[in-house]
C-alpha cells in the first residue's frame, strides 16, 4: 500500500459514509447511521495511514518533512481533523443524527483535494522558511480549530432545517433537540476557539523566528484574526439576552464563512506571505 492508494480509498470511504448518513436520514433508518459510523471510522484509519505513509515516502525521497505543507496535504489533514472530532463527539455524546451534516464536509475536503486538477499531490521539498517545528504545531492546531468550527457549522444548519417541535416519527426526530444543538455548537466553537488561538500563536512565534516579526498584518494573518473576532463575538453574544438558538447559529455560520475565506479565499483572491499553503 502507498499513500495515494490509502488516500483514494479514504475518499471513497468518506463518500460511502456520507451516503449511509443520507440514507439513514431519508429512510429514518437507525442501522444505516450505525453503518455510516463504522465506514467513517474505517475511512479515518485509511486517512491516518495515508498521512503516515506520505510522511515515510517523503523520507524515502530524501526530503524528510511533515505532510502538512501544501494545499493538497492541508485538505487531507482537514478531513482527518473533522473526522476525528466527529467520531469523538458521536462517541461521547451519543448523538448520531448530525452526521448527515458533517460527513459531506469531511468528504468534500478530501474529494476537492483529489479531484481539483490545480491542486498537486506531488511531494515537493520544503523551502527554507517552512522548515520549522513551529510549522507542524501551527498547521495541526489551526486545522483542529477549523474542524471545531466546521462541526459547529454543521450543527448550526440544523436550526434552519429542523422545526423546534418535531413529530415523534418525522424525518427530523433523530436529529438532536434544539437544547442539545445549542450546547454542542457552543462546545465545538469553544474547542475551535482554543485551537485557533493556539494556531495563531504558534504562527506568530514561527514568524518571529523566521522573519523577526510576530505579526505583520499579512492578509492570511489578518483573516485568521477576523475569524477569531467573529467567534469571540459569538461567545460574548451568548452572555446577552435574546442571543441563543437561531440568532447565534447565524453567527457561527458567518464564522465558518470567515474560516473558509481564511483558508481558500485569501490564497485565491489576495496575496501575501502565505501563498504556498
Amino acid at each position: 500500500m502507498n499513500s495515494s492508494f490509502a488516500l483514494s480509498s479514504t475518499t471513497f470511504l468518506y463518500g460511502l459514509a456520507m451516503v449511509c448518513y443520507f440514507g439513514s436520514f431519508a429512510f429514518k433508518n437507525k442501522h444505516l447511521a450505525k453503518a455510516g459510523f463504522y465506514v467513517l471510522c474505517t475511512g479515518l484509519l485509511m486517512n491516518t495511514a495515508g498521512i503516515g505513509l506520505r510522511w515515510v515516502e517523503s523520507y524515502q525521497m530524501g526530503y524528510g518533512r511533515a505532510p502538512f505543507s501544501n494545499m493538497y496535504e492541508s485538505l487531507v489533514f482537514f478531513s482527518w481533523t473533522m473526522a476525528v472530532l466527529y467520531v469523538f463527539v458521536e462517541l461521547k455524546y451519543r448523538e448520531q443524527g448530525f452526521g448527515v451534516f458533517v460527513s459531506p464536509l469531511i468528504f468534500l475536503a478530501i474529494a476537492y483535494a483529489s479531484f481539483d486538477p490545480s491542486i498537486s499531490a506531488r511531494i515537493n521539498p520544503l523551502i527554507p522558511a517552512l522548515k520549522s517545528n513551529w510549522l507542524i504545531a501551527h498547521v495541526v492546531t489551526c486545522f483542529l480549530g477549523y474542524a471545531g468550527f466546521a462541526l459547529a457549522f454543521g450543527l448550526s444548519i440544523i436550526y434552519f432545517i429542523k422545526p423546534k417541535q418535531t413529530a415523534e416519527n418525522g424525518a427530523f426526530a433523530r436529529l438532536p433537540s434544539w437544547d442539545v444543538i445549542d450546547e454542542l455548537t457552543y462546545q465545538m466553537v469553544v474547542f475551535g476557539f482554543l485551537f485557533l488561538t493556539i494556531g495563531i500563536i504558534t504562527g506568530a512565534v514561527w514568524a518571529n523566528s523566521a522573519w523577526g516579526k510576530y505579526w505583520s498584518w499579512d492578509p492570511k494573518e489578518t483573516w485568521s484574526l477576523i475569524t477569531w473576532f467573529v467567534y469571540a463575538i459569538f461567545m460574548h453574544l451568548r452572555l446577552m439576552r435574546g442571543w441563543h438558538g437561531k440568532n447565534l447559529a447565524l453567527v457561527s455560520i458567518v464564522g465558518f464563512v470567515a474560516v473558509l475565506f481564511t483558508y481558500f479565499g485569501v490564497n485565491f483572491l489576495l496575496s501575501g506571505l502565505h501563498s504556498y499553503a
Partner: protein, 457 residues
C-alpha cells in the same frame, strides 16, 4: 446600586457592558477587512494609479494606506482595553468572594430540584450508606460537608472554584499582548541591511523610513552559501557572521532561515541574498576571422592582450542587474575592448545570454564560461523589547482559555433517604457554572461507580 442615574455611574456602566464589547469587536473585524483588500504602505503614485485621485484623498484622511496603525483603529483597540479593565474591575470583587468564600454554603433543595438526578437503592442502613458515600465523595471530589434534612441526610463536596478566575486571565492576556505590542512599536525597530561577503557594517536601515540606525556592534559577513534541491528550488540559505564589539570579535556563528542570531536584544535574521560581485572569471574569446577560440581565467580589473597583438581586453567589473536599452538582462560582466588602431569601447556580457556579444559582430566575441560568485547576504535586524510581554500574553491566553473552557466549578450532592426494611435510596445530583451537558454525562458515570462502591463494601 445607589446613584444609579448619576453621570459617572452611567459612563462606568457604558464601559462595563458586554454590548460595547460586541460592537467594538464587530467594528474591529469589519474594518480589518479593509487592510486586506486595499494596498498597504504603497507609494502615493501607486494609490493614484489604483484608485484615482479622489479616493486617494479619502485614503489619506483615514490613513487607510497604513490602516492597522491608523488613529481610529488604535482608538478601537484602546476602547477594547478600557472595556476589559472596567468590566474586570467591576466583576472581580464579586468573583473573588465566590472563589474565597468565608464559609462554604449549599442548599440541598436546589440540587434536588434538578432534572438530572441519578437514583438507586442499596440494602444498607442509612448510617452506613452515608458513611460510605462520604468516604467516596471525599476521594472523588474533595472535602465533604454534611447537612441533615427532614427525611434525608445530605453529603456535599465541590471542586474547581478557582477555575472562575480563568476568564480574567484571558482578558488580562489581551491587555498584556497589546501592551507588549505598544512597547515594541515605541522602543523597538525593524531594519534591513545588505552585507557583501567579507564586508562589515554597524549601520542598518529602518524598514519603513529608510533612516539609518546605529548598532552597538559591528556585523561581519564571512561567507554566504545557498543550496538547491535537484528541482532547482532553494533548500537552505546560510550566512556565517562574526560580531565585533569594541574591536574584539565576540561571536562567530551561522544563521539560517528560522535560525536567527539573538545578540544583546538585537535579532538578526536571514531574509534575502543576491550576487553582488564576482571573483575570477573564465573567459572564452573567439577570433571571428580565424575562428580560433582561447580561454583565459581573469580577475576583475585584469587586462590581457588579444591574439596577434591586435589589442587588449580589460575585465572591468560585475553588475547584478545589467540594463540594456531599458531591459534588465540580469547578472553580467562588463569590460573594455581596445583595438590597436581605434578608441576603446565597452561591452556587456550578460550571463544568461552567452551569444549576446556575438551579435555585436566585432572581430572578437567574448563569453563568460564560468565565474566565482560573490554573494551579499540580506539581513533583517530587529529589536523588540515588548516581545516577552507578548509571549507572556500568549501563554496566559492559552492557559486562561483552557481553564475557562474545559474546567469548571462543580459541586455534587448525595442525598441518603431511608426507605422501609433497611433499604436506602441514594440520589446523586450536581451543579456547575459551565456545561450542564458534560455534567450530566459525568453524573451518570459517577452514579454507576458510586453504586458499585456501595454494593461492594
Amino acid at each position: 446600586m445607589k446613584n444609579q442615574d448619576t453621570i459617572p455611574r452611567q459612563i462606568w456602566e457604558f464601559f462595563c457592558s458586554v454590548k460595547l464589547t460586541v460592537y467594538t469587536l464587530v467594528l474591529l473585524a469589519v474594518t480589518s477587512i479593509i487592510g486586506t483588500v486595499v494596498l498597504q504602505n504603497g507609494t502615493p503614485q501607486q494609490y493614484i494609479n489604483l484608485y484615482g485621485k479622489g479616493l486617494y484623498n479619502l485614503i489619506q484622511v483615514f490613513s487607510i494606506d497604513d490602516m492597522y496603525h491608523a488613529w481610529w483603529f488604535l482608538f478601537l483597540l484602546l476602547l477594547l482595553c478600557i472595556n476589559i479593565v472596567v468590566c474586570s474591575v467591576e466583576r472581580l470583587s464579586l468573583v473573588w468572594k465566590t472563589i474565597f468564600p468565608k464559609q462554604i454554603r449549599f442548599n440541598p433543595d436546589r440540587f434536588l430540584r434538578s432534572k438530572k438526578i441519578c437514583t438507586f437503592f442499596v440494602d444498607q442502613s442509612p448510617d452506613s450508606a452515608t458513611a460510605a458515600c462520604e468516604n467516596w465523595l471525599s476521594k472523588q471530589v474533595g472535602p465533604v460537608h454534611k447537612k441533615k434534612g427532614e427525611n434525608f441526610r445530605t453529603v456535599y463536596a465541590e471542586k474547581g472554584r478557582w477555575t472562575r478566575i480563568g476568564v480574567f486571565v484571558v482578558h488580562a492576556s489581551v491587555l498584556l499582548l497589546l501592551m507588549g505590542a505598544l512597547i515594541g512599536s515605541v522602543f523597538g525597530f525593524k531594519a534591513n541591511v545588505r552585507i557583501d561577503e567579507g564586508d562589515q557594517v554597524n549601520t542598518v536601515f529602518a524598514a519603513k523610513t529608510r533612516e539609518p540606525v546605529q548598532l552597538d556592534f559591528v556585523i561581519r559577513c564571512n561567507e554566504f552559501e545557498v543550496k538547491f534541491y535537484d528541482t532547482g528550488a532553494p533548500e537552505e540559505f546560510r550566512s556565517n557572521l562574526t560580531i565585533i564589539e569594541d574591536g574584539q570579535e565576540t561571536l562567530t556563528t551561522d544563521i539560517r532561515v528560522n535560525h536567527p542570531l539573538r545578540y544583546k536584544g538585537i535579532n538578526i535574521f536571514q531574509s534575502s541574498y543576491g550576487t553582488t560581485s564576482a571573483g575570477a572569471a573564465v573567459m572564452a574569446i573567439t577570433d571571428n576571422i580565424t575562428g580560433q577560440e582561447i580561454t583565459r581565467t581573469m580577475q576583475v580589473g585584469e587586462t590581457i592582450t588579444l591574439p596577434d597583438e591586435t589589442g587588449s581586453f580589460q575585465l572591468q567589473g560585475f553588475l547584478p542587474h545589467f540594463d540594456f536599452r531599458g531591459r534588465n538582462l540580469g547578472e553580467a560582466f562588463f569590460g573594455k575592448v581596445t583595438l590597436n588602431d581605434k578608441e576603446g569601447f565597452q561591452i556587456g556580457l550578460p550571463l544568461q545570454f552567452p551569444t549576446f556579444d556575438k551579435m555585436r559582430k566585432g572581430r572578437f566575441s567574448f563569453v563568460v564560461k564560468e565565474f566565482e560568485k560573490k554573494y551579499y547576504t540580506g539581513l533583517q535586524v530587529t529589536k523588540d523589547p515588548g516581545v516577552w510581554y507578548v509571549y507572556a500574553g500568549f501563554v496566559l491566553m492559552i492557559l486562561g482559555c483552557w481553564v475557562t473552557f474545559f474546567m469548571s466549578h462543580q459541586s455534587y450532592l448525595i442525598a441518603v433517604e431511608p426507605v422501609s426494611d433497611g433499604k436506602t435510596s441514594i440520589h446523586l445530583a450536581g451543579r456547575t457554572n459551565r456545561s450542564t451537558q458534560n455534567l450530566n454525562l459525568k453524573l451518570a458515570g459517577m452514579a454507576t461507580r458510586l453504586e458499585n462502591h456501595l454494593k461492594k463494601g
